[in-house]
């Protein structure tokens, strides 16, 4: 017998039920997904890499993948552009304003995605608030088509995913020591110099975390992509769903899933290594 175990430590065996649950219902299904993707035809008679070749040699499939990844970049950039000032304003605001702001940020996070997307159908529709305002002001003669366009969808996605960007930024900015800003100012640095030389490098971990969450959520946002993007714009989630459910082509749908999964993991590790790189830079 070793020394008496600390009461703060619990038996590692307590993790076994969830580990077993994940092994059976998470890892095994993913293994089956890989196995199914390695079949050459929808009736799954022979093994081969044809599904992957079919996707990677098909300009249409590749354009769907590239389009999806690019939409993620646009949404993430827009979220960062609007979210950073909001997080900045939050940490500087008086206590009562912070309480109000955190509710404004959290309510969309917990509201159903279908509800949030539906709001954008109302806003961007032919009789929606944007067109009503533009017509009223005489900027346009007839209602603009905003729904079913990529621009409209990017704005809607940015709103839907905004809390995922703002919350990590708030955490990072609240950890920033205000004395550093005073010191920088006292040493003669201007507002923007302090921002780029002190604030930005120190909040990189929060920016990376926010970008990562926003990007991963934006490219997999099935509901917003299909309802605001409409039938004309096809992205990976709907492409996958069509192949699996409508066309019943399981091997191809499985291959799309794996390719999408790898793309997401590559994007995640890219963000992470960017974060590490800049951390090294900030310390140097």
């Amino acid at each position: 017998m070793t020394a008496r175990a600390s009461p703060a430590r619990y038996d590692a065996k307590l993790a076994l039920p969830l580990a077993a649950f994940f092994a059976v219902f998470f890892l095994a299904p993913l293994a089956i997904l890989v196995f199914v993707s390695l079949h050459t035809d929808p009736s799954m008679t022979a093994l081969g890499l044809t599904q992957y070749a079919k996707f990677l040699l098909d300009p249409f499939s590749l354009s769907v993948l590239a389009g999806t990844l690019w939409v993620g970049v646009e949404v993430t950039a827009l979220c960062l552009l609007l979210g950073f000032p909001l997080a900045w304003a939050y940490v500087r605001a008086p206590r009562w304003a912070q309480v109000a702001m955190i509710w404004v940020i959290l309510l969309p996070l917990l509201t159903s995605v279908v509800v949030r997307t539906f709001a954008w159908i109302v806003i961007l529709g032919r009789q929606g608030i944007v067109n009503a305002t533009l017509l009223e002001l005489g900027v346009v003669d007839g209602p603009l088509r905003l729904l079913y366009t990529e621009g409209g969808m990017v704005v809607a996605l940015a709103q839907v995913q905004m809390p995922l960007m703002v919350l990590p930024l708030i955490t990072a900015l609240s950890r920033l020591d205000p004395n550093l800003l005073d010191a920088s100012a006292a040493l003669g640095a201007g507002y923007w110099r302090t921002f780029f030389k002190v604030v930005l490098p120190l909040t990189i971990p929060g920016i990376v975390a926010g970008c990562l969450l926003t990007y991963a959520a934006a490219i997999t946002a099935f509901i917003t992509q299909t309802l605001i993007g409409g039938g004309q714009l096809l992205y990976m989630p709907m492409y996958l769903y069509q192949q699996a459910s409508t066309l019943n082509n399981w091997p191809f749908a499985a291959a799309i899933s794996i390719i999408f999964l790898v793309a997401v993991l590559l994007a995640v590790s890219l963000f992470n290594s960017l974060g590490r790189l800049s951390k090294g830079h900030a310390q140097a």
């Binding site: 430590r9 993790a15 039920p17 969830l18 509201t111 709103q159 099935f222 309802l227 989630p237």
Partner: protein, 254 residues
């Protein structure tokens, strides 16, 4: 900066406001601002049996998911929190991975798995699938609560002669309860709102509310959906206020 921050706040609030206003329209379209106001679309909800049926299913699955996610997640969190062992790190990454992976790919994988082992889709398969994608929230908030726990409290309880189980029930559990409840709440909301897993694991008998609403919106722009959305916003807000009072939700989501 202040202008952009204001624009961002407006962008966050505006959609909720628009949905609430439009749900009280007296017209038959989603025109904004509405031509007049009435409660008729809320009254129409009383007859919308398809939406009621789907909402009932979603509630049942979310309840089942929350229970299984809390039981499995809290036990796992106790085992991996404060542990430096490499197995604990690996398990932590494994339990968190459903948050990063595209859930749609997992939904398809789960459908293939259940088809292969001959288990037809049912509320049970939905609860299993939802548990995989919702359990990370419980693990995360519980691990965070355990990390803030002062070990000295547990040591003194033990040195005063309390057994491990008694220390857990009388000291640990009361202190980490807010963390568990916050995780359970997020797991419930995310199961109720889940689309990517339900999309593959549901059938006509187990229609789920978000999918029903999505299909309604794909087909026609139905004003009934505005009333459902209005009702869901009010319920969400009420639950948030309740959870804020009980466990300080806003601090735990950061």
């Amino acid at each position: 900066m202040a202008g952009l921050a204001g624009a961002c706040l407006l962008l966050l609030v505006l959609p909720t406001f628009v949905v609430i206003v439009v749900s009280f329209t007296s017209g038959f379209s989603l025109k904004f601002p509405p031509p007049g106001y009435s409660l008729k679309w809320y009254a129409a909800l009383l007859d919308a049996w398809q939406l009621q049926f789907a909402a009932g299913n979603s509630l049942k699955v979310a309840a089942g998911t929350t229970v299984s996610a809390v039981v499995l997640g809290v036990a796992a969190a106790l085992a991996i929190a404060r542990s430096e062992r490499w197995t604990a790190r690996v398990l932590d990454s494994l339990f968190m991975s459903p948050l990063v992976l595209p859930a749609l790919a997992f939904g398809l994988a789960a459908l293939m798995f259940f088809t292969l082992i001959g288990l037809p889709v049912s509320p049970l398969t939905l609860v299993i699938g939802h548990t995989v994608v919702c359990v990370p929230y419980v693990v995360r908030t519980t691990v965070a609560a355990l990390a803030q726990l002062d070990p000295a409290l547990l040591e003194s309880s033990a040195s005063l002669g309390a057994s491990r189980l008694r220390t857990f029930r009388r000291v640990t559990l009361p202190l980490i309860r807010p963390g568990i409840l916050a995780g359970a709440f997020i797991a419930f909301m995310s199961s109720f709102d889940n689309v990517p897993v339900s999309l593959f694991l549901r059938d006509a008998r187990t229609d789920m509310l978000p999918i029903r609403m999505w299909q309604d919106l794909e087909g026609k722009l139905d004003v009934t959906i505005a009333a459902v959305s209005g009702a869901m916003i009010v319920v969400t807000l009420a639950l948030m206020v309740l959870m804020e009072r009980a466990v300080g939700l806003s601090r735990r989501l950061r």
